[in-house]
């Protein structure tokens, strides 16, 4: 088998895989939390930063270890890691909201700036790379939990600013919002 055949076969397989992903990725079922809105409701509490900070603080953990309660300290450590992961999930929801707005604005624009859209796509890929990097570090127990606190301030502020900007679009934004629930991905074949 010569190299050109191998190249053609690889391209064919790759294209087939991408096509299958495009065809079926939009039909996958959303997690329960997203479907019934429980995740959205949970993420409303993203603004309760002081409580989250307190929950993530090291002081209790250090105190318990010093007083000779390692089992309790471990349990609390696991609980806090769970809180951190939930919080990270909320940040993801916020990021996705921003991204949906960006796509909606782009879809409703008469002229797109390609560089702008490419940059949006790049940011999206970067976010997911970093998100999973942090996620796996948290799951494996390598990360510092208190670091998360500072992120929430920024995301909440961004969301408020964006929602203000979008509300100025009035009916147009509302029309765009109607498009989103129908087809996030656009390719739910047969759906």
């Amino acid at each position: 088998m010569n190299y050109s055949v191998a190249v053609f076969a690889s391209i064919g397989l790759l294209l087939l895989l991408v096509m299958a992903w495009l065809a079926f990725s939009a039909t996958r079922r959303q997690p329960q939390g997203v479907r019934d809105g429980s995740r959205e409701r949970e993420c409303i509490h993203i603004s309760k930063l002081p409580q989250i900070r307190q929950a993530l603080a090291d002081s209790d953990f250090i105190y318990l270890n010093q007083r000779g309660y390692p089992a309790l300290a471990k349990r609390i450590g696991n609980e806090r890691r769970r809180i951190a992961l939930n919080y990270l999930a909320c940040l993801r929801v916020e990021f996705e909201k921003l991204l949906k707005l960006a796509r909606m604005v782009a879809a409703l624009s008469p002229n797109l700036v390609v560089a702008q859209e490419v940059q949006g796509l790049r940011l999206n890929l970067e976010f997911w790379y970093r998100y999973y990097l942090i996620y796996f570090r948290l799951v494996s127990g390598v990360g510092q939990l208190k670091a998360i606190g500072s992120l929430s301030n920024m995301v909440s502020a961004l969301t408020i600013r964006l929602e203000t900007a979008m509300s100025e679009l009035g009916e147009r934004a509302a029309l765009g919002a109607e498009l989103l629930p129908h087809n996030r991905g656009g390719l739910d074949a047969g759906g």
Binding site: F8, L22, L180
Partner: protein, 263 residues
């Protein structure tokens, strides 16, 4: 021709008739004239090729020329049918449509150049490689378009999705069939032509089944034109959102370096 090839011919011919009939009955020919023409051309190709193979044999020069000339015509028709479908889906979204064209104008020549580089300069397989090259460029372009439809919140009617995916699937299957046949040197094999026919017609049969089931549904109502933003609104909002997405990314990047508040 072996019996299985005859069955495949009969199957594809019948299904093409069914697809053609559904296009007429469901009124798709008004909305998709190029796709209707493509279906009609395919039917004509099937009839003419069957007659050629019957009278001149499937290994004759006459059959070979008619087969590839008719294939070139249907490939051109397929291209137009695809552009028509994409235009129908994207015509309400002028910005995305414009960007799609620019993206294709940039990508297709590059893919074509790559195909040229990796092709063999063997005259015996030249036509087959041109065919593969066409299908690669076609599939890449179509997947890019499908990717854009996936990325942006654009509503695509299920019937149009199935038609586009059918084109894409068929091109991918043809690339693989051509590569597999060359890879295993089927050109030396006595039943090479029959094997190629089977590998080409089987995926098309599947496409026709999918199309027939999609076209059996009533034609979708004409989409309501969404009210577009003004160019200045996009210029104002889009960079703002991008800047904010950038800010989140920067923060994520520094995730482990951020110090928590002093207790």
């Amino acid at each position: 021709m072996p019996p299985i090839v005859n069955y495949l011919w009969a199957g594809t011919f019948l299904l093409q008739l069914v697809v053609g009939t559904l296009i007429v009955i469901r009124g798709y020919f008004r909305r998709l004239p190029f796709f209707s023409a493509y279906t009609a051309l395919n039917l004509c190709q099937a009839v003419s090729l069957y007659a050629m193979y019957h009278y001149y044999g499937d290994a004759s020069t006459q059959s070979y020329i008619v087969a590839w000339v008719s294939e070139a015509i249907t490939l051109a028709a397929r291209l137009w049918a695809t552009v028509e479908l994409l235009r129908l889906v994207l015509m309400s979204y002028r910005g995305i449509w414009g960007m799609t064209w620019r993206l294709l104008a940039f990508t297709c020549p590059m893919v074509l150049a790559l195909v040229g580089i990796f092709s063999r300069s063997d005259a015996q397989v030249f036509v087959m490689q041109v065919d593969s090259g066409y299908h690669i460029v076609f599939a890449v372009a179509l997947i890019l378009c499908l990717g854009l439809l996936h990325y942006y919140p654009i509503r695509v009617e299920p019937v149009y999705k199935v038609l586009l995916l059918g084109f894409c699937w068929y091109s991918c299957a043809r690339i693989l069939a051509n590569a597999a046949l060359h890879g295993f040197s089927y050109a030396q094999y006595l039943h090479y032509w029959s094997v190629w026919q089977i590998l080409s017609m089987s995926p098309y049969l599947l496409v026709l089944i999918l199309w027939a089931s999609a076209l059996s549904q009533p034609a979708p109502a004409t989409q309501q034109q969404p009210t577009l933003l003004t160019a200045s609104e996009y210029r104002d909002i889009a960079p703002e959102i991008t800047a904010q997405l950038q800010a989140i990314n920067r923060r994520l990047m520094n995730f482990w370096k951020i110090q928590g508040p002093k207790q």
